[in-house]
Assembly symmetry: D2
Homo-oligomer: 448 residues x 4
């Protein structure tokens, strides 16, 4: 083998130094020869800055990896061994809308959960289908490692509507392991969490240190105020009686469901006059700063400042997954894959987030079986939303989209669902080719 070719779609992202660092650190076991950083013409200026840094990082590390910067996606994908996706259709400006539109109706404004996640999915689906088209044609043996959010839902689109080999990945599970290790003051490699659920809606049903069950100890620590969250999610504390009756570890995103009111209030405060703005608006500032840092010719490694974003452990999760595939490691990873009966009760063809054995032939989930009524209602509620959203986004079906919005557990009524949907379609009109005629109809009815 002459060395691996990697295509990174959305290569101009400020996260890119993360993944470059990951490939450098594992170069001894993962013989990457070329990394193609792909972006769209509008992102060329970012791609050039971050790409130059990537080249300096590789040079400094002394590894033989060629960094290619390009807007030619098809050339990048051709004969690639792995394609990773970290693109964001519409950029942070679109994300800011995802966060602000729902808040008008007192509904959570978040880019992966609820109406914001719906909007992001609608923008992303046409693009991911194009990418998969290219992969089917130009690199049919490539693995697609999808990070693009909502990661579970986008993975389900690929799973249901293409022939591409795909694994969805998120840094939440690995982040939870690291945080729990931190809370327990043990090395993170000694910690294992049995994860079950959906992307951004995953529970740790059991926490083990060296195979011993320490779930209750962790719940006690959390009850006593230990932090378990991510950069982008306010660290509201968990009610002790609730945690103990749950008997499982919620993920940081669960706050959006279990503490819905307080989370909405917190977000609304942020966008009031004098507030700090939505997360997108804060990230915009962080990102500006990052690109200034990246421009510094003397910088030759991933800067500390990158940790202010929510993507910690991202490189670790991604590159170790790719290495597990390439090296046929039969190693456990928490991934987004087809259910296929793993969780009894969910449809067979939907995507779930679960521990799987990863080897050269893919990710093979460990059987879960039946799940508790403490969690199945919420899982099925969100999965129903996801199934409807996938179909709505692929087919450009307004009726299905209305149902998707109406069934989401965070949307209080059909009336609000419809207002949200119409606002989202109108405000994202340049990114939704599949809904063009409906959008024209809405604009002529409501104005832009």
């Amino acid at each position: 083998m002459a060395g691996l070719k990697i295509a990174v779609i959305g290569g101009g992202s400020s996260y890119t130094p993360e993944i470059i660092e990951g490939f450098i650190n594992r170069h001894h076991e993962l013989p990457v020869k070329e990394i193609h950083l792909v972006d769209i013409p509008e992102g060329m200026w970012k791609l050039e800055i971050v790409g130059a840094l990537a080249k300096r990082m590789v040079a400094r590390a002394g590894v033989d990896i060629e960094i290619v910067l390009t807007t030619n996606r098809r050339a990048a994908i051709e004969k690639a061994d792995f394609v990773t996706t970290q693109f964001r259709v519409g950029g942070l400006a679109a994300r800011a809308k995802d966060e602000r539109i729902p808040l008008k109706y007192d509904v959570l404004g978040q880019e992966t959960t609820g109406p914001g996640g719906f909007a992001k999915a609608m923008r992303t689906i046409p693009v991911i289908l194009e990418i998969c088209n290219d992969i089917e044609e130009l690199a049919p043996n490539a693995w697609l490692i999808n990070f693009t959010n909502p990661a579970g839902l986008i993975t389900e689109v690929v799973q249901k509507y293409t022939n591409v080999k795909v694994i969805g990945l998120c840094n939440v599970p690995i982040g939870m392991v690291k945080m729990v290790a931190n809370i327990l003051e043990v090395e993170s490699k000694r910690v294992k969490i049995d994860f079950v659920g959906l992307n951004h809606l995953v529970w740790g049903s059991k926490v083990l240190v060296d195979g011993e069950d320490v779930t209750q100890i962790v719940l006690n620590k959390l009850s006593d105020g230990a932090a378990l969250t991510m950069k982008n999610i306010p660290d509201l504390k968990w009610d002790s009686e609730f945690l103990n009756s749950l008997g499982m570890l919620p993920c940081p995103y669960h706050r959006y469901f279990y503490m819905m009111e307080d989370m909405v209030k917190d977000q609304q405060k942020a966008i009031e006059e004098g507030g700090k703005g939505t997360r997108a608006e804060q990230v915009l500032e962080v990102e500006k700063g990052l690109f200034e840092v990246y421009k510094d010719d003397t910088l030759q490694e991933k800067p500390q400042q990158l940790e202010k974003r929510g993507g910690a452990y991202y490189s670790d999760a991604a590159v170790s997954l790719i290495s597990a595939i390439h090296n046929n490691k039969k190693q456990l990873h928490v991934v987004n894959v087809k259910n296929n009966g793993t969780i009894i009760g969910l449809p067979k063809d939907v995507v779930i987030e679960v521990t799987a054995v990863v080897d050269k032939t893919g990710a093979h989930p460990i059987q879960v079986g039946e799940i508790s009524p403490k969690i199945y209602g919420l899982i099925q509620g969100v999965k129903a939303f996801e199934e409807l959203t996938v179909e709505a986004g692929v087919k450009g079906d307004y009726q299905m989209a209305l149902q998707a919005m109406a069934v989401h557990p965070l949307v209080p009524s059909v009336t609000v669902a419809k207002k949200l949907l119409d606002d989202i379609l109108i405000e994202n009109k340049e990114y939704l080719p599949q809904f063009q005629s409906k959008i024209q109809e809405l604009i002529s009815k409501f104005g832009e």
Copy 2:
């Protein structure tokens, strides 16, 4: 056969004339010999009034049915062929609390759905288990026909924790058939609706007249403003685009989910100063009036005024079900029975509301198979609540109760769930033997 013995638990209810009328009307096919109306000592005055009317009704009809009024439940149950339950633990006063407590937290106040349904279940579970104990001992071959709300959940308690043969029954499906017949201006016996879901959360997946699919026609009529509701549920109109995208007939209770905000506002307005009060408080008035009417010695049949309550068609549903069993009719009825794989995705041992073939050996559901994501999220969300509530109520388990409340789709957060739960426990303290020590703890913490 010497004629059937019926025990009516909660016989002092103002609904009793309904069921008496039912038995009179079907006496030609259902040879009832004795109807034992059972109530608790506090309800004796009502039992005497309504019982006297029942005797006059029977006499007037000229049928040979003995009406027995009693507070001796065991004697009434002994050797009964059918036991029906229409009791209400705590009476309308408790119902009023079920309706008012949630509204304090801007949560729906309803006696069968949401926190109100939870409270009613907690009060009812200890009593239904006692009744089933009696049936197992004194009338092991009897059928229990359960109407007591939340009817699906209470039927699930009996199904999971006793050996009693039970069928749960609700007047909503038969009511929907009558209303659809009315809308379409056809006889109701020509209308069939394929029902699927849970009690008070049941959809008509298809509407047929003489076997022809008229679902879309009915949805159009509803979109145009045709009424489809019940006496106790405000007739808020359905959004046309929503109805068409749903492609199914929602039940009146679905308004509590799909129009949550407006329903809560409507309820809050009712309890403001000068408002009409909660439904319980209105019913209290209706009931007072009814008992005045019932007292009239010259009254010998079910009075018109009874229709102001929500239980229309109740006698029809109940007595025709009993007749289908007794006469081995192999007839279709919409009932609450064990899932057993009928709806794929739901656990096997939970109770669902579905069309079943009823004969002497019970109710045998017609296979449904997989259900649409348009409805499975909500069904599973409410069923998770029900499963947790059943376990909490039977075992007196506060932790399980907290989980039940927290996962209900109408409860916005854990914080609210806990407040609701604690209020409910304290305010119902005389009816919750299973939670006494926890209630003492709460009272010493919060006061009464």
Copy 3:
């Protein structure tokens, strides 16, 4: 409605007077206007004889039904309301081969079960697919009522590979009801049997008279030697301990599995010199006699002699099913339909034989749930054979055919499976368009 059009494929069958009688007897509720009896040119002589009888029967009954005799299948199907299939590809000569080939290898020779059923399926599949093609084009709203054996397997072909509305029907369940009624000396309409299984492999899991469970009584009677079989199956007696441990009613065809050796010996004896020949050869004689009888111009009704064939109650089953559909009766019939979760453990898309509610929209199975290990092994063993046979027959796939034969519970080894398969293909070469190239290869290897 102007009256119904019926197309009977295989109208020249000696069974035709059965179905004609059925339509005459139900003419008051089933307004049949035209019955098109279709056959192939080679069958024209039979069609003319039996068709003439049909016309005399109709005339004598004084009902307004037009009998049309034709070899133009497409014309017969066009705008038909119901299409029934009773054709036999290759006639009784092919059936005789189905019965004789397996016996060479000491394997059961039967036209619906085991290798004989496989052979018949291979011949039938290309023809049923053509018929369905015609229905899809010319009568898309027609119901196909399939009797052609192996009835469950052929129904599964239609279910999986066409868009035709199909119900498979067999006279075994109705026959068992009649025989049990006879044994118990009650009217057959008072008897209900809960059937579960596959066509020609169906168990009566419970026998009820007027809704009372009499299963044990029936098993006792069978143990004592009461007959429960069909004209075409030797009445070998059931072992009493076996029957009691089974606790269910086996169907007559179960003898082929539970008494395999004796059945094979019985068949081998029949084909020895001086024996009575295979069932096909006996039927050939019966049929000759029947056609002689049919020719009699004075005969105006179904003759007694027809009862010597195995198809008793066939008209009753068929026409009452058609009437249940047409009249939207919501009546219970035992039919072959898609499993769809009715029997837990079997794949969703396979066809099973089970009690269903029949109305204008089709046959809706009553939920069965999990089945006992006493029967699931055999059901799944035969269903695996059926699934493989369906695929082999539709695709002309020799490998799949070899697997089908090898997994059949009555075939003792791969070696025998292969010999059987090759013999069957060669001996049926004129009826197997889908296997032509493989057959040429076999012939050049083995000779004809």
Copy 4:
């Protein structure tokens, strides 16, 4: 931790040097302190011989393991960390009966498959339940590693009827990996086979070398005559067309099903006058020789001759599994565990043989999903037999036992099933406490 305590039930077996060698070889990672070899008084002479050898082996290896020889099972189990079972109720004499009885009726005579497996299960079940009783009381945290055949069925007994943590293990999968490695001339650690099925009825659905699919290559080699069998199973060659149409790797025991006739003939020949006797009788000879060898005081390691028995790789499989548990390795092992939805279609509570991730908390199967009709019929057929056998053996239920025997795919009829069952019960009378009254009845009917 002070070092592990191991209890080996059936420690006098001639296999014991295998497992002792295993513990010696892994002593660096598995700190075993004590190995208690337990046997019954009748086996004391063997225990002393093999135990002395074990002590010499340990001494020679210089590892600090105490070998304890005992007939006190409870003392051996008390506080054990792992209990392994390799006992054989009735010894080789009983096995010889298992092999000879079926052959009288032309049915396969084998100690784990068919009627022989049934007989062995009946003898083993009362003993394994006693052992589990002891474990529950004296070593509730111990893992039971069960090798005793029929290993899957006995593991299912433990799984369904006790609270003991159990994993069933067999050397067939590891043996297949070694043989495939041999055929392909690669190191066995590079070979992975995806196993699915039941114990002694397991298929390799995919064969991989370094993660690349080489299934077809292996099938081609087998078609060309490469050997894939075990010491105790004749190496009859596979038909090439059959293997290719199967597309999976059969296990050596599959010959008993796919080549049933030839296997029976082969066995019958062995017991004819001048034949080599049944496998038990051959093993008796091998064993005699082994014990002679073991007696040699100078022997300090596992002798070559042991490989003549069928248990190759047994120590490797067992000790590496124990090490995976103890060391929380998260390693893949092929084991017998509760299905729990892993194979869709099989009941949830039965035991299957499948690849699992093994760590300190047990064996967690990798999801399989739906399986092909090529294999599900046979799997379900044998599993139905196993479920009935488990229930019959635990409850001493003759009716269930008759059903078990009647449904086994290798038993041709109820008549034969009953004869087999009665012979087995009578001939094993001293080992079947659960069937004593039935056995008396049979003896008084048939004589002994």
